[in-house]
Amino acid sequence: MSLWIAITLMTGAAILAVLWPLRVRRGASAEPAGNEVASEPALADLAVYRDQLAEIERDRASGLIGAAEGEAARTEVARRILRASAEAEGAVGAGGNADRRRRVAAVAGLVGIPLIAGSLYIALGSPGYGPQPLAARLEARPEQSDIAILIRKVESHLEANPQDGRGYEIIAPIYARIGRLDDAARAWSNAIRLLGSTPQRQTGLGEALIAQAGGVVTTDAKAAFAAALAADPKDPKARYFLGLAAEQDGQPQQAAAIWSQLAADTPADAPWLGLVQQALARVGAPVPAPAAGPSAAEVAAAGDLSPEQRQQMVRGMVDRLSARLAQNGDDLDGWLRLMRAWTVLGEADKAKAAVSDARTHFARDDGALGRIDALARELGLGS
């Protein structure tokens, strides 16, 4: 709001700069406006010439110039004075139409200034966007801070506590998302160094390195995925990128083998399944049917079954999942898969029960609750 007040005041001051000199002067109004001015140049000249005469007189008196030289200089200046005096007398006032000119000038100020300034400001300015001094941004509460400031705060925290591996782990994926890939890779390396290697950290590092290299799976990235795979042989991300590495190394068969295996192990609702299938199609390998979490053997067996038997088998698998989650409910993805599976099987009640069980289990985890509710909405299960 204060910006608009400032803009109004500034515009007013600017208009005043035009109007103030135009105001009619009481004392001078008797004098025709044109006359006083037209004669003035010659008068100003006269003042300079008189001053020059005085100067010559001074120089002569102090002996700087001789009497003859002084006389010659005086004559010359005197000639200039005569000419200027003649001009001063011969000057004619312009006058006329003074009031109309003042009105035009006043209108130019009153209308022209806001018009020019306003239209340009609309084109160039961002009136809704206040100042953002760094100190104030740093002092703002975290929930009001922008992402850049939050990153900066984590950074200064890490500068002071360079051994805090958790900090690096938090900031690494954020770096990756905003495109600061060097920093992302460095943060993942630090997290691995300080907290130890996990598949998640290794694949994060590998991904950052690939993005940095413009999509090429470098040796370092490959090493990171290999480390991830060593800890968890099923890690889908590591397997996908190792397949990509094989493809880039000119070994499409090997890539196809890795990806086929991966696709076979991938649940049907996994978000990355499409990516794997595309990759398989790219290297010309057969794309296996999506699996709903069963092992490859089960899928192969399912092909020989009748629809009822297949339904039975799927039910069995979902029941197994449900039982596993009842024992250990920490697997959020499992819960989501269960919700989806019951819905697909037409068991809306069981699906709703899965939603409420999952919600109870993750009651203290806002992120998980959000995902559960989102999927419930998507599946039409209410919330």
Partner: protein, 665 residues
Amino acid sequence: MNPEIGQYALVLALALAILQTVLPIWGARVGDAALMRTGPALAIGFFGFVALSFAVLTAAYVQSDFSVLNVVENSHSLKPMLYKITGVWGNHEGSMLLWVLVLAIFGALVAVFGSNLPASLKANVLGVQGSIGVAFLLFILLTSNPFTRVVPPPAEGQDLNPILQDIGLAIHPPLLYLGYVGFSVTFAFAVAALLDGRIDAAWARWVRPWALAAWAFLTVGIAMGSYWAYYELGWGGWWFWDPVENASLMPWFAGTALIHSAVVMEKRDALKVWTILLAILAFSLSLLGTFLVRSGVLTSVHAFATDPSRGVFILCILIFFIGGSLALYAFRAPMLRQGGIFAPISREGALVLNNLLLTAAAAAVLIGTLFPLALEAWNGAKITVGPPYFNLTVGALMLPVVFAMPFGPLLAWKRGDLAGAAQRLMLAFGAGIVIAAICLYAQGGGPALAPLGMGLAAFIVLGAVVDIAERAGIGRVPAASAIARLKGLPRAAWGAAIAHAGVGICLFGIIAETSWNAERITGVKLGESFTVGGYELTLARVEPRNGPNYRDLAGIFTIRRGGVEIGTVESSKRVFLARNMPTTEAGIRTFWFSQLYVSLGDELPGGGIGVRAYWKPLVTLIWLGSVVMALGGVLSLSDRRLRVGAPKPAKKPKVVPTPAPVAAE
């Protein structure tokens, strides 16, 4: 402060500048006092809003407001406060804003201190100034807006170019702009006079203070730029004939010619057409310099942001102002009445010689700077016109100028006595020969011209002393009256003599540095020594250091002369963290007027470190001489005669409006 206020102040300034262009000139055409009075008010308003805008941008830098793109691109929150402020003009957008700010300052000064000017001249001057303001504000707003915002704001800036993170950035550009843009006032006076059709001796008196001020600022600005390049770039050179340096040298030559021809015009009502042309040329060359630096035509240290579309815009400004003013000149000049006549050997004749040679030098620099560009545009051939060309042409033209310089002030107006002047200079001439002989003996072989140059420099300095002594009549009148006359001498006479002596001092430095400069490029390990110019340097230690936003690797050398240790000198390689860019911090020790200059190179493969070391005899005189020149200009400016001339208000109170005797004593 809200950056939007700065943005709005800038567009308001444009609106005022448009009115300032139209209303006062219209008023002067029809002789309307009220319209003419809008000139000063608008000029002051224009100044106010540009200053506000500049202050808001500075505040954004100081507070690290990274929602302003310009701050993001050129600042860093850890930068020392001084460089946060100087960073405002250490970039394209900000430097253009500084340009307009200086223009506004001069406009406001004319408005405030121009009360002794005829109203129509003042109105026209302010109108022309307004039109320059319109052109440059449009340029800023349409192509280089310093208030462009960023959403979302980043948390840190990209820092200022490390070469610019130096005290030099606080001094050199503002002084240079005060010089460049100062000539806009003389330009405005010239165009205003052409519009009015009235050019007389009084005009020259009104123009001279502005020309002197601009010239003094430009002189110091160029000298400071030269010293900055000398210590920052690490090559030990003080003038590179870089196109951007040439761009500042050309208006300096034209401006030097202008302040001299204006004297002739004021005293003798002669050389009017020529003086007007010089006033136009000085500012045109300033504009050309701005164009060369800002357009991206040239790549150099100064071209921190380049963009072809900006180049086209500035080219249009250039064509409008230079073409327009020269067309007006061609149309009006033949109508001007010629003034006093004079013999070739006279004060006027000497000043004409000075003018011709100075403008020829400006032309030589112009050709050397633009010819490669024109050739490249013509057939794509890339050639470089280097120092040999400039040294030869400018040197050959300057030699007669400086040799004739002591004669000029000793010649009488109208008809001079060359033999008499030469006779009075015999003492200075003899002293010059003695100095030359001493130098010849001392150098014992070496550049043959160097002792002659030193002799010439001595002749110039002593010539200036002779000038003052002659005016006081020392040796001709009794001592007491000579002292009285010395005190009574106008400050302009002192100013001229001091400025001329400054040229001689500067020449001492140039000749000594170029003739007897010693250079040593070598590699040293810890504890190793080498000698340069009679000094023995030993690498004592190498230390890493941390600055606020940089890291240093400093090499400390002990200096010995004749086996006796006389101090240390330290040079460092500096890496700025934000841009990961290395710079060299030269180590300089001054002994009297000479300097020992050490610059650290890269680490060598076999261990040790590369070093360039120079012994530069009398090198500081180059810049001290320039400062003395500018001081002469300032002294001349303070002469009371330049400030009188206001119509006496007491005599005709009704006839003369607004008699504000601010400028009168």
